[in-house]
């Protein structure tokens, strides 16, 4: 029975997922909710049919980067980018302050959306994982977090502003980790 725990970045949000085999099915625990998933492959690496709690979904895996855990998933006429990491790896990233030795962090809009509000102001000290701003996209509000412990240098957008995917929204400069960790 293979099991795994992952951190998934999707739509600007970070979700925790546990996957465990249950016979020929899979059990997914997502933010405390359990889903029973039956997966069937139409074309391996390309087309997958899922029955999630009995609901039927035909999904195309348009782009796959197995090493980095980066996928682009197509569902009807919509696409979305997903990044999956092992939880241990994600924790390791947290310990090293994320993104290894990078000295600054640029918060980018993961997709087009509307800036709902900033959660931090320039000059403010933020911890890794702390929300920098809220972006509304796909009718959902997503809190976008800093990936560094640091100081907010700039908030580059205004509340209510419409932004394209990829737009830089804010910058955080690294603060030195406390000695001893």
């Amino acid at each position: 029975m293979s099991e795994g725990r992952y951190v998934v970045d999707i739509g600007g949000a970070k979700r925790r997922v546990a996957v465990a085999a249950r016979g020929a099915r899979w059990e997914l625990v997502l933010d405390g909710e359990t889903h029973l998933v039956e997966q069937a492959v139409l074309e391996r690496d390309e087309v997958v049919h899922l029955l999630v709690d009995g609901r039927s979904y035909l999904v195309d895996l348009v782009e796959k980067d197995w090493k980095r855990g980066r996928f682009v998933i197509n569902f009807f006429a919509d696409q979305i980018e997903v990044r999956v990491r092992d939880e241990l790896e994600a924790v390791a990233e947290e310990i090293t302050g994320g993104r290894g030795g990078e000295e600054s962090f640029e918060l980018r809009a993961p997709m087009p959306g509307i800036v709902v509000r900033a959660l931090a102001a320039p000059g403010e000290t933020v911890a890794r994982g702390q929300g920098l701003l809220v972006l509304e996209a796909m009718k959902m509000q997503n809190e976008l977090a800093s990936e560094l412990d640091g100081v907010v240098q700039e908030i580059l957008v205004e509340d209510g502003q419409m932004v394209d995917g990829g737009t830089v929204l804010a910058r955080v400069a690294r603060s030195e980790p406390p000695a001893g960790t």
Partner: protein, 507 residues
């Protein structure tokens, strides 16, 4: 003129395929031509024969009269169908074909020439008693003269730079007190922008509708109309959805517009399929705008409602046959809508998209006709029009068609390139569209990219799919650890075997 045996289609994409379908039904050979980029385009795969034109851009290929005449000769075709766009409204093309002893499936060159020139067409229509938009027939400079003419035309009027175009150099004037200033300002602006300060006046239509009439004429002087198409839904003057009938047109108006359209066609000695475009004001007054001397993109909605094949009628007219229908034989039934599927990203200003269509699942079933120029695996290039296909939906009533269209878009899968399908989904959710109540400004005034709704289930579904895929095959996968690089191709080879196995062990 003898019956046609082989026809070269001087076009590409969905219209080329659509024309060839009728050719095949009528047992006429079909010849495709293609640019370098289009070696594997749908129309090349579909045709009986295909000849290369060379070149990549339209100017190097589909617009080259010499190359197309040569290809038609080499293929032994007896006629050429131009589709729409490209050379379809080019009188020189029609003349070159005639000179080469080939039949042009379209109107006489002279008729095209007149209708292709706004001033000539206006004069001709005025002479024939066709109602054109009221306006001055030449430049106006004297303010008093302008005031008199504006009274005659009736406010609001629009002051237009004679050399202007594309929305530049024009001012709407709603009453006599604004006229002099508008004349002066437009003239100055035009002088700067176009080095020509001449301006003229035209009636301004507030919240206009764009409604067109399909006409069909034979070479023996018979002409009929096949009802109207509502084409008001436009994005920056580009039609996106058309329907037949128009929710705005009643029987009396249809009859009047149809009669006027036939009058317009007869005035220029028209032969074949043509479309007379009218601009219609909210009070239902309609004015001749122009005549398109070719098959329209949106011809299928007329076909679905009138039970005709307009390409077949074109071919018959080109072969010199008499019209097989009299006006009283044309009967409409039901409702049809066409949704143009473009390769463009509605979330980013409708930026044209290009690339490979990695996955395509097309809507089918009751009430769906999909005229397509694409297939799964094909490349969509940047060289030509981004129109990929046309989803035509029909049913007994307009309400049925709307629900069916929603269903059709709910089963339409396109992966690999962006399309305007999300835009159509937005449009179908608009009450004004459902009520048939949109003028030509509707989209430009109401659509904003942030209104596009992604499928609400997408993030959840994508998360589940990606997490499972990564769990089984990704870097951390128990089964794949240490073999991440070579794994993909092995999985691919094993896919078929495993899929079969899974099916017998699951569920």
């Amino acid at each position: 003129m003898a019956a046609l045996k082989k026809v070269l289609v001087a076009n590409r994409g969905e219209i080329a395929v659509r024309v060839m379908r009728t050719l095949r039904e009528r047992r006429i050979g079909s010849v495709a031509v293609f640019s370098e980029v289009d070696r594997l385009a749908a129309h090349v795969l579909f045709a009986d024969e295909a000849l290369p034109l060379g070149g990549k851009t339209s100017a190097e290929s589909y617009l080259r009269i010499d190359k197309i005449v040569d290809a038609a000769r080499r293929a032994g075709a007896d006629a050429v169908h131009p589709g729409y766009g490209f050379l379809s409204e080019n009188p020189s093309f029609a003349r070159a074909l005639t000179a080469a002893g080939l039949t042009f499936v379209g109107p006489p060159a002279d008729a095209m020439e007149i209708m292709g020139n706004k001033l000539k067409a206006r004069a001709k229509m005025l002479a024939a008693g066709v109602r054109v938009i009221p306006g001055t027939d030449g430049p106006v400079s004297d303010p008093a003269e302008a005031a008199r003419l504006a009274e005659e035309i009736g406010y609001p009027v629009i002051v237009k730079a004679a050399a202007g175009g594309g929305g530049k150099g024009m001012r709407i004037v709603r009453g006599p007190d604004q006229l002099a200033a508008a004349l002066r300002a437009t003239g100055e602006e035009a002088g700067k922008a176009f080095a020509d300060s001449a301006v003229y006046l035209e009636k301004y239509i507030d919240r206009p509708r764009h409604i067109e009439i399909q006409v069909m004429a034979d070479a023996r002087g018979n002409a009929i109309h096949l009802g109207e198409r509502e084409c008001s839904l436009q994005r920056r003057h580009q039609k996106v959805v058309e329907e037949c009938p128009s929710p705005f047109v009643d029987a009396a108006m249809r009859e009047a517009m149809g009669r006027m359209a036939v009058q317009a066609a007869k005035a220029v000695g028209y032969v074949g399929a043509g479309t007379v475009e009218f601009i219609v004001d909210p009070g239902r007054d309609f004015y001749f705008l122009e005549m398109n001397t070719r098959l329209q993109v949106e011809h299928p909605v007329t076909e679905m409602v009138t039970y005709t094949d307009l390409v077949e009628l074109q071919l018959a007219a080109a072969a010199g046959e008499p019209l097989p229908l009299r006006q009283e034989d044309v009967r409409a039934r039901g409702w049809a809508m066409e949704f143009r599927i473009y390769a463009e990203d509605p979330a980013r200003g409708f930026l044209p998209a290009a690339g490979r269509i990695l996955r395509l699942r097309e809507p089918v079933g009751p009430g769906i006709r999909h005229d397509s120029g694409i297939y799964q695996g094909c490349e969509v290039s940047v060289f030509y029009d981004p129109l990929l296909s046309k989803l035509v939906v029909y049913g007994a009533e307009r309400g049925d068609v709307l629900e069916r269209a929603r269903r059709a878009f709910d089963e339409f899968v396109v992966a690999g390139i962006k399309t305007n399908i999300p835009f159509h989904k937005w449009l179908l959710a608009q009450p004004a569209f459902a009520a048939g109540d949109c003028d030509t400004h509707y989209i430009d005034e109401h659509f904003r990219p942030e209104l596009l709704a992604q499928d609400p289930e997408l993030p959840f579904v994508a998360l589940v799919a990606a997490a499972l895929a990564y769990h089984q095959h990704g870097r951390g996968a128990p089964a794949a650890r240490g073999e991440a690089d070579g794994a993909t191709s092995r999985w691919r080879q094993a896919a078929r075997r495993e899929a079969v196995m899974r099916r017998s062990t699951h569920g």
